[in-house]
């Protein structure tokens, strides 16, 4: 364990002043909750929540061959990514193991790649090394994490709260759309992306304005029921929406097909890192599959709890919790492929006793359709 002090976002002191309980995450000092995880979770589902995401990493990719470079390192087809849109993709190794899951934003004349906090150093080193290998490509790759602050505003009231503060028209901005404009007069990228399963926005802007935008958004959102949200609720929200958390549903020893992310892998787009291995895995079918389940017996599934069948270990839980929205214990797990299937049972080993669960369709929660 390193003795290095935890990294702080520009808002660390603000969180403490608000009474947040802080926790270490990926080397960062982050708020896990302010009022309480369940209250914060419900606020995002019914009104809105504001998240400090200053710990996440950002990489700038520019140059005439930027798209070609990204198409080499990422599994999705960047050639189909139009300006003003974002795309979910994976960075894989030659053997198909996942280095990270990322969002690629196509902006005017450049790409913004957003990576997980826990993987920023690894991803930057990987991208710079791959860039160095591609001597024929005219592309520049730069780590801009220190120069980029990130906030997320998520929930059914997010657009109502944000619109008066931005010069961008939010109504026509589609899901996964992105644009450069201003928020509270500050130059920012506004993207209709998020990690909660609700409508919402992720904002990228210079870190010196962090406190200003945090305060402005909280003030604008207060009459709408906006709350600040910690990492605790961030996790329960994404799990209900069946979104992967790196280190759980994705690791270097999990491939995209096991994680049910084959849709983000475009084998026919041309060559890319991992293509050979991924083609073989896709053809043979993955040995394990990520499934969603609800508990039938009493118990809460947690990451790393074994899955058992006829007395043998057949997999493990990757994430689990008591779902605040559903009021039931839910989980995701990797199980031997022949045992996977909606409606089929699973047994979770909880403190040495097998407890029954049933596989269910995912996501566990889908936001209601709303009129525009």
């Amino acid at each position: 364990m390193t003795d290095a002090p935890l990294k702080q976002t520009p808002l660390a002191a603000v969180h403490r002043a608000m009474g947040a309980r802080m926790v270490e995450f990926g080397g960062w000092d982050m708020p896990v909750q302010y009022r309480g995880i369940i209250e914060e979770h419900r606020a995002v589902r019914t009104a809105a929540g504001l998240f400090d995401l200053g710990h996440m990493g950002q990489v700038e990719v520019t140059g005439p061959d930027a798209a070609a470079f990204l198409n080499w390192v990422a599994t999705n087809d960047v050639a189909t990514l139009a300006e003003g849109h974002a795309q979910y993709a994976l960075l894989c190794r030659d053997n198909g193991g996942v280095i990270d899951d990322i969002l690629i934003y196509a902006l005017h004349s450049w790409f913004l790649v957003v990576v997980n906090a826990s993987n920023t150093d690894k991803d930057v080193r990987w991208l710079l090394a791959r860039r160095a290998e591609r001597t024929g490509l005219n592309v520049a790759v730069r780590d801009i994490s220190a120069a980029t602050m990130m906030l997320a505003l998520q929930g059914p009231r997010a657009a109502t709260i944000l619109q008066p503060l931005t010069d961008l028209a939010l109504d026509p901005l589609p899901a996964f759309g992105c644009a450069e404009g201003t928020v509270d007069g500050v130059a920012a990228i506004v993207a209709r992306t998020g990690y909660t399963g609700e409508d919402g926005f992720e904002l990228y802007f210079p870190p010196e304005h962090a406190e200003r935008l945090w305060t402005a958004l909280l003030a604008a959102g207060e009459p709408h029921g906006l709350l600040p949200i910690g990492l605790g609720a961030r996790d329960t929200l994404r799990l209900e929406a069946k979104m992967a958390l790196y280190g759980h549903e994705l690791t270097e020893t999990i491939n995209p097909y096991e994680a049910r992310l084959g849709w983000a892998v475009k084998l026919d787009k041309g060559d890319f890192i991992g293509r050979t291995a991924l083609t073989a895995i896709d053809a043979a079918g993955p040995a394990r599959k990520l499934v969603g389940f609800k508990m039938v017996g009493r118990g809460v599934p947690r990451a790393d709890y074994p899955l058992v069948h006829d007395g043998e270990a057949v997999g493990h839980v990757t994430s689990g919790t008591m779902s605040p929205t559903l009021g039931e214990a839910i989980g995701l797990g990797l199980v031997r492929s022949d045992l996977a299937g909606v409606g089929r049972p699973l047994h979770i080993l909880i403190r040495e006793r097998p407890v029954e669960a049933v596989q269910v369709p995912t996501p566990f929660y889908r936001r209601p359709k709303r009129d525009a």
Binding site: I37, E39, G299, V300, T321, M322, R351
Partner: protein, 127 residues
């Protein structure tokens, strides 16, 4: 929330309220606050005999599983079914409606080993 003076405490943040040879057991306000939103309780079956300090079950919050230890030895005679069904009561009323279980004490002299409210408060101040 003030620490009630009518009962004894342990360093593991449990309390025991003794009447005759029956003890009602729960977790303290400090414990429920540290845990955050409590979402699940695993408690022993009626009839099980516990030794003092034996792990008797768990209290689970959204993010974590926390062991509970028997502050006193005895036979489980009742478990709080309302708390099992609605564990948030342990957050809101840890000393009253949020009790966890009742024991018939095996050795009432063990009560002398519990911490007083003042001694327990000193423990939590040190944390």
């Amino acid at each position: 929330m003030a620490t009630p003076t009518d009962r004894g405490y342990t360093k593991e943040h449990e309390w025991a309220l003794v009447a005759g040879d029956v003890a009602t057991i729960g977790i303290t306000d400090h414990a429920q606050d540290a845990l955050g939103d409590i979402v699940f309780l695993e408690l022993p079956e009626v009839g099980r005999v516990l030794a003092r300090d034996e792990p008797l079950g768990v209290v689970e919050s959204v993010k974590a599983v926390s062991d509970i230890y028997a502050p006193l030895g005895g036979e489980v005679i009742e478990v709080n079914q309302a708390a099992m069904a609605g564990p948030e009561i342990v957050n809101t009323d840890p000393y009253t409606a949020g009790w966890l279980l009742r024991l018939r004490l095996s050795d009432p002299t063990e009560v002398d080993q519990l911490l007083s409210a003042a001694a327990y408060e000193a423990v939590t101040e040190g944390e």
